[in-house]
Symmetry: C3
Subunit: 408 residues, 3 copies
Amino acid sequence: MLHKDRLFPADPGTRDLARRLFAEVEKLPIVSPHGHTDPRWWGENPHFSNPADLFVVPDHYVLRMLISQGVSYEALGIGEARERDPRKIWRTFAEHYYLFQGTPSRLWVDHALSEVFGLTERLSPKNADAYYDRIAECLAKPEFRPRELYDRFNIEVIATTDGALDDLHWHQQARDSDWNGRVVPTYRPDAVIDPEAKGFAAALDTLGELTGCDTGIWQGYLDAHRARRSFFREMGATATDHGHPSPRTANLAEAEAAALFARVRSGKLQAGDADLFRAQMLTEMAKMSADDGMVMQLHPGSYRGHNAAVLSRYGADKGFDIPVAVNFTEGLKPLLDSVGMEPDLTLILFTLDETTYSRELAPLAGAYPGLKLGPPWWFHDSYEGIRRFREMATETAGFFNTVGFNDD
Amino acid sequence: MLHKDRLFPADPGTRDLARRLFAEVEKLPIVSPHGHTDPRWWGENPHFSNPADLFVVPDHYVLRMLISQGVSYEALGIGEARERDPRKIWRTFAEHYYLFQGTPSRLWVDHALSEVFGLTERLSPKNADAYYDRIAECLAKPEFRPRELYDRFNIEVIATTDGALDDLHWHQQARDSDWNGRVVPTYRPDAVIDPEAKGFAAALDTLGELTGCDTGIWQGYLDAHRARRSFFREMGATATDHGHPSPRTANLAEAEAAALFARVRSGKLQAGDADLFRAQMLTEMAKMSADDGMVMQLHPGSYRGHNAAVLSRYGADKGFDIPVAVNFTEGLKPLLDSVGMEPDLTLILFTLDETTYSRELAPLAGAYPGLKLGPPWWFHDSYEGIRRFREMATETAGFFNTVGFNDD
Amino acid sequence: MLHKDRLFPADPGTRDLARRLFAEVEKLPIVSPHGHTDPRWWGENPHFSNPADLFVVPDHYVLRMLISQGVSYEALGIGEARERDPRKIWRTFAEHYYLFQGTPSRLWVDHALSEVFGLTERLSPKNADAYYDRIAECLAKPEFRPRELYDRFNIEVIATTDGALDDLHWHQQARDSDWNGRVVPTYRPDAVIDPEAKGFAAALDTLGELTGCDTGIWQGYLDAHRARRSFFREMGATATDHGHPSPRTANLAEAEAAALFARVRSGKLQAGDADLFRAQMLTEMAKMSADDGMVMQLHPGSYRGHNAAVLSRYGADKGFDIPVAVNFTEGLKPLLDSVGMEPDLTLILFTLDETTYSRELAPLAGAYPGLKLGPPWWFHDSYEGIRRFREMATETAGFFNTVGFNDD
């Protein structure tokens, strides 16, 4: 099922070169600085429950493809009237597995089935039940628990993504255990930065309680961020992460920013305030990163929850986040005028708009000491996507203004 | 003139694979669901008049290239003082045929000359007259008439594109004949949807007369569309087609839509009304498609008649339609919130803005059950264009959210 | 260090074809119609001063990469407290030369070191001093002066880029000499066209003095342009060049344009006036080109001096010019409605926004007789950039609507 030269060039000369390069890196440990594994995996080391909950239900790449071809969320274990038998969900997946031809999802699933579970024939309705049984049997064994897989996969360090209000107790539990894996949290403060996020006001109240800072005023609010960043660093964090609708930034004068915060805090927003506040906060986060050394990651340009009915019925992260065009050159200027030349800032830019690779991102990262380019993200974390990134970014940014691997 | 491996990869291994794949599909019948053949061809089965009127005068790809290099419209048989000798037009074409190096037009013309007319040397001033004679001689024979070519080309079905007010009599004539080819119309209502189209008010009067609906009011106007769609379906239509300046859609409340229609109908448009009405009508057409099952095709983003002088002197479709950037993610949201999750909708999206393939179209079609991606369109219906489409769309949309061949 | 097949395809069949094609053009003379060599080189034929001033200090590609990795401008010989020892600057360059892996800068420098100076091992800290000595020794020899290199490189003609107010005395000196090289100036009037350029009012005063035209009024100002263009033509110029923030054009009625000029001339600009004036002047320049036959080159879409601190401390052209998205289809329409169909206009379009190649530029150049496409510019003047240009533009524009080589 897995061709040993998959993803390598077809031409024998370059294929041979690719084999030799791959052999040099194949056994290196995995350093995974950004991802979305569940911290509970590392703190509690539970058994994964069943094949459907591992491969299907939580994977928004898998969900969206099945939904796009007429499968219902319910049949995939989501929604009030959802299918509750994981074996039936697995069968639905197997029945539609042909849909993934030519997609990274098939590469990933084929790889996992083959390399992790020893299932070397492609998933199909014919073998669905047998595969379900085999995987379920594996998952019941200790060596298929998260920590054991971490060791088996030769991971050196893995980062999770954690809300600003998170107490990081799973991280604490992992550190308190006798396991030697290195799992670090990442400061993701979107819920206390985006005035349009659900429960924003209450979140700021909690932020104040957790830190003892007065989150009723601008400086107190910034101090509260500093306090949480410090707590995250104590728990091993080296980075922050920010998901914004656009890469727009702002750098308002102190009084203006304080007045904007007052409006945002009171919920009495004027038109444009929410967007301006998010823009201002990117610059504030960059300033703090220049101070405390936390690497800042920016993931902009996704129109989240694009379909109103899906969002209200099934919730967020259900496959309906759709990219939009973005403008880094003009958007980032206020932030970069403020701290872009700081030697201690590292701001890693990600994009879903590939046109920005050669037009904006490589020229920006190829000039500003504070900028680096993240690897291809989300839809573009794929064979063709990685090729396009390298073809469009390397000549201008070089290799040293880009960063490595992600398990996003 | 035609290399048997043209368009195949140069590397022997993948070339061999390409040959084997091509051999499997080469003899399959042609299913052509969208195109612009003249219905009269199928109804009357006339002889094509002469080589210039077949290959040069009506082909806006050929025209624009010749115009771009200084040939006049008149020399190509267009305009008041036009050349009326088709042989002279053909010679002008032959004289400038070197301009088409590297373009799909040359692939098409070389293919037609060689495969249809047995002319295997490349067209040039030297052979222009002999070629003209040979083609003219062929065109006079019965086996070079449209229906005979349909059979020779192994076409299974072909769709034309027809105005909403068309009586489809050529289609009727084809059905009434003893010929067994399948030619179906397509409902293209732009002229009764675009308030800026010439003769819009009169067209709506006619629409009312044809259907017996009151096209003076919003609901009557919608009913008239339903009636014409029904008539087209009776005549074999399976699809509608829409050429809009942008993919913007709207989903106004009933009263708002009725008021907008009233302004549009009376010709007393406010700023933005024409665009908003087109946007609203895309959603209405999608709703009707979800009801009556007609596949909806959207061809947006061409700035039609870009040069004012060319447009006024020589008319539409003369090679001066230039693409613009489009925004599907935000533009389609109102339509998709309305009917995007309907299992009975099939909306096929085309684009002239290739940046939307990976950024917007593949993510949208890879999520919404109602969406599919059309093949590369117009300028991008080419070797490199098709390759880019597959490289940029397949990993996210898969193969099953895209559709097949067009003779556009 | 230089692989003889560098930049050729890996597949043996196409590589062989590439070799044969290259052999046919390798010895042809260089025709360089656009570039930024210093006219003094040709007028005075001085020795180049030292390796750092030749390879490092004036090269904004080299500067930006080093700055992006934390090297200071001062260490590169720029700024008040700058390093003044060129050998030390050269060592800094050598120490960081590994950063240029995968970039065109390395191809250029490797090529120059090897082919011009016979230094066939890659530059590194180890050989930095020896290389410095060897290059310095060469530069002291007569055969390494500009005119001798012109002859050695088999250049047939080279164009410089010169301000509208320039007296072109270096060009005169070159013409007066007994050297037979052909060096021609190019009319670059940005400083007397952009109301936001430093010293704009004074520049217009000078323009009036130089030409005897009344640059206080619109028609006098246009006449002054005509006079300077005429002077440039007498000095051998065949072209003009225009660097604008965007490709927006305008074609105002005479009275409107005169009123706009009056505001611009008096410095009492209203919002949008500067942009509108630049837009209007592109059309005026195109009209003059249609009259006097000078080829017009447009280089739009760079956000110049993106970082405020770098701009104010170190000046322009220091690596912080970042591309933005542009809109040629709508931007150029006024100009093209005015003179786009003129047989005597040649307007060459360049872009930093590669998305416009297939979406806008190839369709425009493939229709308008007055338009041609320039080669890939700046960041895109690279292996991958040239490949993308040909893949995205050729099928629609053909080869004959594009132009050749640049030394930009």
